[in-house]
Amino acid sequence: MQTDVQVRKARGRLSRHVQNKLGETLHAMFDEIVKEGVPDRFSKLLEQINGGGGLHATRAGELDASETGPDSLVKEPEDKGSRS
């Protein structure tokens, strides 16, 4: 009489049953951690950086400035050379 295990070993593959069992335990273990959600440490980290006064405040200022088009302010003298 051949059991699942013998079949599996003969082919070098795991039976569906063994695969399911491993998968279930893996998922259960994983889900247990996932259920802990986002620790304060990480939500605070993202909040801090999001809040203007964060790590990239300087860079944000530069980006804002470029978006509002500083060129017109800085390079006004160019008007002299304008061909309009």
Binding site: V18, T25, V34, L45, L46
Partner: protein
């Protein structure tokens, strides 16, 4: 504002599974949380290289996986902590699975070579396709498939899972788990 709200939300949403991946990969909660923190910092510093509309979770997993790999190479000679720091730190555990069972599983997982462990965790627990896992690990899809197969085979040997009743919940709780599980 330096980080778009949608980007920030996507990062936050990815943290729980990113953390589960890091803990399962490293076997140590403190190390894992440091890895997650470093991953988030790097992600934010390089947010310009993230393409909106693509999978934020896969991007973060890739960063974390690479960080873990480079750290692993440095620490290779150190003895891995597989004696309970993980289990002790868990706030709760489902009644369907005993702590002993998880602990056995985790110890077995820690015995796998890292490439097999990460492949199994990405495909078997994190919900990535073989193709996504291959992209994260920067290898061929066939390589991921064979790593996952070898990981499963090795785990089943380490845990001696041969019959229906030796390991894991009985049929009733298994049905509950399946009904309530992911996927």
């Amino acid at each position: 504002m330096t980080l778009q709200a949608s980007v920030r939300e996507a990062m936050l949403a990815a943290v729980p599974s990113l953390r589960a991946f890091a803990i399962s990969l490293s076997g140590n909660v403190d190390r894992a949380d440091d890895l997650v923190q470093e991953t988030l910092l790097r992600a934010m510093a390089n947010i310009n290289s993230f393409q909106p509309g693509t999978n934020m979770s896969a991007w973060l997993f890739t960063i974390l996986r690479n960080l873990f790999r480079s750290e692993y190479r440095k620490r290779r000679r150190e003895v891995e902590d597989v004696d309970g720091s993980y289990a002790d730190s868990l706030k709760s555990h489902p009644e369907q699975h005993s702590r002993v069972e998880f602990e056995e599983f985790r110890v077995a997982l820690a015995k796998l070579p890292p490439d097999q462990r990460e492949a199994l965790l990405l495909v078997g627990a994190s919900g990535f396709s073989y193709e996504e896992a291959a992209a994260i690990c920067d290898c061929a899809v066939g390589t991921i498939k064979s790593r996952v197969n070898r990981a499963r085979t090795r785990l089943s040997e380490l845990l001696s899972i041969d019959s229906a009743d030796e390991f894991g919940p009985d049929h009733t709780t298994r049905a509950i788990l399946t009904a309530g599980g992911r996927g």
